[in-house]
C-alpha cells in the first residue's frame, strides 16, 4: 500500500516549501517516506518537480506512477499525466489554467486566491499542502504545529498560514476526502526527515569537524549551508574560499595545525583540488573530501546525478600515495561512514574521500534517529611521553604511520611538513635511499588501510542465482529491484559497496563464484566499478546496467533490463 505524490512547477514557485511541510508532517504522523528532487540549473522558470512516496515498511526509492499530482503550472500536468494513475488526482489552480475536457481527475483549488485571502500570495503553497492532506485523509493539526515551530517568533505568520492551510483543506475536501489510503504508520513517528547533505553535514559536526573551507558548487553546497548554519552555535568555522584550490589548501593548513577539517565540492571543483590531494598524500596530513558527483564532463548537468568520478578520485593527484575512498549509500549508513572517514584520515594521516552524488545529496528520507554513541573521536595525536625524542614528523615506523604532533604542542619541538620528498624530519632531500625509504613508509599504510574496508553489504536471497552489484547512492533502488525480482521468482541478491578503495574483495570473490549471472549497475557510461573490480581482481562482471542521462535509476528499469537479458 502506498501513495505517490508529484509536485511540479517552475523554478521559484516554491515546491520545496510544499515538500518540506508535507514531508516533515507525514513523518511526524508516522509515515515512512522518500522525497526526491528533479530541478534545473536555473532560479526561475523551467520545469522542476519533486516526488514523494509513502509506503509501508521503508520506501527505498521513488517510482514513476503518480497518485496525487500538484500541478503548479500547466506544463507539469502535460509532462506527467501519462504517469498519473487511473485513480489519481490532480490538484491545480483553475484560475491559472484548466485541464482538458476529458480529464476527470482534477481537484481544482484556487491556490492563489485562497492564499491572498489568507494574507498573501506566498502562501499558495500552504494552501496546496492543505489540499494534499485532505486527499490522504489526514487532519491539519500536525502541519499546524509545524507551522508554529517554523515561524516561531514571527508574529502572525503561522496563524495566517494556518488559515491558508485550512482553506486548501476545505476546498479540496469538496472533491475528495481521503481518496487515498495511507499505509500503516509506525506508532511513535519519531523519525528524522532529512536529506543526504544534511546527514553529511551533521555527521561532520558530530565527528568533531571544526573547519569547512569550500567554494559553492551544486550538489555539494547543502553541506556548506548546513555547517554554516551550525557555526552560529558550535565551535566551527565555515569559510567560503576564493576558489577550490584555496579551499583544500586552507583545510590542509587547519588539519596540520590540529583540527579536523573538511572540504566539499563537485567534479569541476574537485578537479581544481587534486594538486592539494597530492600534497595531502605527500605531507601525510589527514583530510576528508566530500565529492558530490554530478554529470560531466566540464559543467555538464549541474543539478543532475551521476557516478562517473570514481576512477578519477581513486587516481586523482600526481604521484603515488595511499588514500581511502568511501561512499554514501543510504542515509542510515552515511552518517556513520563519514565519521569513519574522519577516523581513517586521522589514523592513517592521509586523504579520505567520501563520494556522494546529487541523487543522495538532495533526497530526503525518513530515518531512525542516529545513535551518536556509535561515533568515534580519536585524534591519534602524539602525547607528551608517547613519542620518541627528538620529535620527527616522518619517523620511519613499521606501520608506516609516524607519530603526529601539532605545531606548538611541545615546547622545544617543531613540526615540519614538506611537499618535496623529505627525510624523517621533514627536510627536503634528493638522495635515492631516503626517497625509497619514504615511498615505502607511505605505501606501507595501504596494507592496514585495506583491512579497515568494510566488505560490501549483501541483501536478498541467501543463495542467489542472480547478483546485482552496485555502489553509492543506488543502494535504495537496488534493494527495491532485488525485492521485485525475488517476487518475480528469480533468486536475486545484491552486493553493495560503501567502501571502495582499497577495494574489499573477499565477499565479492566468494559470491561471484556461486552465482550464475551478475550485473554491475552504475550511473555512468564507462562501467567504472566493473573496471575497478577487473583491475583489482582480474574478474569480469559479465552484465552491465548503466544509465548516464543524469537521472537516477528506477527499480522498474533494472528489473526490465535483467528480464530482457534472459
Amino acid at each position: 500500500m502506498e501513495v505517490n505524490i508529484l509536485v511540479g512547477g517552475a523554478a521559484g514557485q516554491g515546491m520545496e516549501t510544499i515538500m518540506n511541510l508535507l514531508g516533515k508532517s507525514l513523518v511526524r504522523e508516522g509515515c515512512g517516506l522518500i522525497y526526491t528532487k528533479d530541478y534545473m540549473s536555473r532560479v526561475r522558470g523551467g520545469h522542476n518537480f519533486s516526488r514523494l512516496r509513502i509506503a509501508s515498511g521503508k520506501p527505498w526509492a521513488i517510482v514513476e506512477s503518480i497518485d496525487i499530482m500538484v500541478a503548479l503550472n500547466e506544463e507539469t500536468y502535460y509532462h506527467h499525466r501519462d504517469n498519473l494513475a487511473p485513480s489519481g488526482r490532480v490538484i491545480f489552480d483553475p484560475r491559472s489554467f484548466s485541464l482538458p475536457e476529458d480529464e476527470n481527475r482534477g481537484v481544482p483549488v484556487e491556490l492563489q486566491k485562497l492564499a491572498e485571502e489568507a494574507g498573501g500570495k506566498v502562501m499558495a503553497n500552504t494552501v496546496a499542502v492543505g489540499a494534499l492532506l485532505v486527499l490522504m485523509g489526514l487532519q491539519t493539526s500536525t502541519v499546524e504545529d509545524l507551522l508554529h515551530d517554523t515561524f516561531a517568533g514571527k508574529e502572525g505568520v503561522a496563524e495566517k498560514n494556518i488559515v491558508a492551510l485550512k482553506a486548501g483543506f476545505d476546498a479540496a475536501a469538496q472533491f475528495c476526502s481521503a481518496c487515498f489510503d495511507l499505509p500503516p504508520r509506525n506508532e511513535d513517528g519519531n523519525k528524522l526527515f532529512i536529506d543526504g547533505n544534511q546527514v553529511l553535514g551533521m555527521a561532520a559536526l558530530a565527528s568533531g569537524c571544526r573547519f569547512l573551507s569550500a567554494y559553492p558548487m551544486t550538489p555539494s553546497t547543502g553541506v556548506m549551508n548546513y555547517l554554516a548554519g551550525k557555526s552560529k552555535d558550535y565551535p566551527l568555522v565555515v569559510e567560503q574560499a576564493e576558489d577550490e584550490i584555496a579551499a583544500i589548501n586552507m583545510a590542509l593548513g587547519a588539519s596540520y595545525t590540529g583540527i579536523r577539517a573538511l572540504t566539499c565540492t563537485s567534479g569541476g571543483g574537485f578537479s581544481l583540488m587534486v594538486e592539494g590531494v597530492s600534497l595531502a598524500g605527500m605531507t601525510e596530513i589527514p583530510l576528508v573530501i566530500i565529492v558530490a558527483m554530478r554529470p560531466g564532463p566540464a559543467t555538464g548537468l549541474p543539478t543532475r546525478t551521476e557516478q562517473a568520478d570514481l576512477e578519477f578520485v581513486i587516481h586523482s593527484g600526481h604521484g603515488e600515495f595511499p588514500r581511502a575512498v568511501l561512499s554514501a549509500t543510504s542515509h542510515e549508513d552515511a552518517f556513520y561512514r563519514l565519521n569513519k572517514a574522519f577516523e581513517l584520515a586521522d589514523r592513517y594521516q592521509t586523504p579520505v574521500f567520501f563520494l556522494s552524488d546529487q541523487n543522495f545529496a538532495d533526497t530526503h528520507r525518513s530515518v531512525e534517529p542516529f545513535d551518536f554513541d556509535r561515533l568515534s573521536y580519536n585524534r591519534f595525536i602524539a602525547e607528551e611521553n608517547g613519542y620518541e625524542k627528538p620529535y620527527k614528523r616522518y619517523r620511519n615506523t613499521e606501520s608506516g604511520i609516524s607519530p603526529r604532533a601539532l605545531p606548538g604542542q611541545f615546547e622545544g619541538e617543531v613540526v615540519l611538513v614538506d611537499s618535496d620528498e623529505h627525510d624523517e624530519n621533514g627536510n627536503i632531500i634528493e638522495d635515492a635511499s631516503t626517497r625509497r625509504l619514504m615511498v615505502e613508509k607511505r605505501m606501507r599504510k595501504l596494507a592496514s588501510l585495506a583491512e579497515e574496508m568494510d566488505e560490501p553489504d549483501f541483501y536478498g536471497d541467501p543463495h542467489p542465482e542472480l547478483l546485482l552489484i552496485g555502489w553509492g547512492s543506488t543502494y535504495g533502488v537496488l534493494r527495491e529491484a532485488v525485492d521485485a525480482l525475488i517476487t518475480l521468482g528469480t533468486k536475486t541478491g545484491m552486493l553493495h559497496f560503501s567502501d571502495l578503495w582499497p577495494l574489499p574483495q573477499k565477499r565479492l570473490k566468494n559470491l561471484l563464484a556461486e552465482v550464475e549471472r551478475s550485473y554491475c549497475l552504475e550511473n555512468n557510461a564507462g562501467g567504472q566499478l566493473a573496471a575497478l573490480i577487473r583491475r583489482e581482481t582480474g574478474l569480469s562482471i559479465k552484465g552491465s546496467i548503466i544509465k548516464y542521462d543524469g537521472r537516477p535509476f528506477l527499480a522498474r528499469e533494472i528489473v526490465e533490463e535483467v528480464k530482457n537479458d534472459l
Binding site: 573547519f211 587547519a254 606548538g408
Partner: protein, 283 residues
C-alpha cells in the same frame, strides 16, 4: 631557554653563495629572537621556489606546501591555532604569479599573518623566466625578445585591496628589514613586506648595486595616509623608496568568527555525545 638569532639557523642551504636570501633569513632569525618568539610558537608557511625553501633553514614549525599556495594553509593554521605566530614567506612568482588569487583575496580576508615576499623579480628555482615583477625588456629563455608585460606592483595592489600594513624593504638593508619584520609580525592583521632581493644567478638587471643606488628612506609622516602611501608605492625607477608606507589596522578575519573566541580551536575538547541534540531539528 632564550633563543638568539643563530639558534634559529638550521642546516645547509641550497642557495647560491651571494644570494639575497641569506640576509633575509638572517633578518628574520634576528626578528624572531628580538620578539622572543620560541621555535614552537612560530609557523612559517611557504610555497615552492628558492625563497620558499626557507622553512628548511629555520628552526620553527614549517609548512612547505605547493607552488603559489602558501597563504591558504596559513589561514587554515590561524583557524586551528590562533596562538601561533604565522608567517608566510615565498617568492614573487609564488606570491604574485601562481598565487595571485590568494594574494588578492587574503588581503581582503585580513588574517593575522605576516607575508614576506622575497622579490628577486625573477623565477629563480626554474632558472630565470620572467616573474610578475620582472623589468620590461629583461631577456630570458622564454621571454626571448624581452619581457613585455608591465610589472605588477604588489604594494599598490595591496593598498587598493585594503591591506592594513604595506612595506618595502631591501635584503641589503638588514637592520631596516629586521625592524620592519618585527613590526609586521606584531601588526594585527595581514602585513605585507615586499623585499627586494638580488638574484645573482638570473637577474642581471636588478643587482645589489642597482638596488643600492636607488633605494632611499622617504619621510613618512602619517602611516595612515592612504593616498600618500599609494604614491610612494608607485615610485619605481631612479628612486625606490623603502619603509612602512601604510599601517592602519582593521578588524581581522579571526575577530569576525565566533568560534575563534577564547581558546584556540585545536585545544577545545570534543565529544560526539555533546552535540547529539543537533538532530532534534529534523524530528
Amino acid at each position: 631557554m632564550i633563543y638568539k638569532a643563530d639558534d634559529y639557523m638550521l642546516g645547509e642551504t641550497a642557495w647560491c653563495p651571494g644570494c639575497g636570501n641569506f640576509a633575509i633569513r638572517g633578518a628574520l632569525a634576528a626578528a624572531l629572537s628580538a620578539l622572543d618568539l620560541k621555535p614552537h610558537q612560530v609557523l612559517i608557511c611557504s610555497g615552492i621556489g628558492q625563497a620558499a625553501k626557507i622553512p628548511h633553514y629555520l628552526r620553527v614549525n614549517g609548512f612547505n606546501g605547493l607552488h603559489g599556495r602558501a597563504l591558504s594553509p596559513a589561514v587554515g593554521a590561524r583557524v586551528a591555532n590562533k596562538n601561533l605566530k604565522v608567517i608566510v614567506e615565498s617568492g614573487d612568482g609564488d606570491s604574485y604569479g601562481e598565487g595571485g588569487n590568494h594574494f588578492i583575496h587574503n588581503i581582503r580576508r585580513n588574517p593575522d599573518i605576516a607575508h614576506f615576499v622575497h622579490d628577486n623579480q625573477v623565477y629563480g628555482l626554474t632558472k630565470g623566466q620572467a616573474s610578475p615583477t620582472s623589468e620590461p625588456g629583461m631577456k630570458t629563455g622564454v621571454q626571448v625578445d624581452g619581457v613585455v608585460l608591465p610589472p605588477l606592483n604588489p604594494l599598490s595592489l595591496a593598498l587598493v585591496l585594503g591591506a592594513g600594513f604595506v612595506a618595502r624593504c631591501f635584503s641589503g638593508e638588514k637592520e631596516h628589514l629586521q625592524e620592519t619584520m618585527e613590526a609586521a609580525i606584531e601588526f594585527p592583521g595581514y602585513a605585507l613586506i615586499d623585499i627586494l632581493q638580488p638574484c645573482i644567478s638570473f637577474n642581471k638587471i636588478n643587482t645589489w648595486g642597482w638596488y643600492k643606488k636607488r633605494i632611499y628612506y622617504p619621510e613618512i609622516n602619517d602611516p595612515q595616509d592612504w593616498m600618500a602611501a599609494m604614491e610612494l608605492s608607485r615610485q619605481w625607477g631612479d628612486k625606490i623608496p623603502l619603509g612602512i608606507f601604510y599601517s592602519s589596522p582593521r578588524p581581522t578575519f579571526e575577530s569576525s568568527s565566533r568560534a575563534l573566541e577564547g581558546e584556540p580551536l585545536s585545544l577545545k575538547p570534543f565529544d560526539p555525545l555533546q552535540v547529539a541534540e543537533v538532530q532534534d531539528e529534523f524530528l
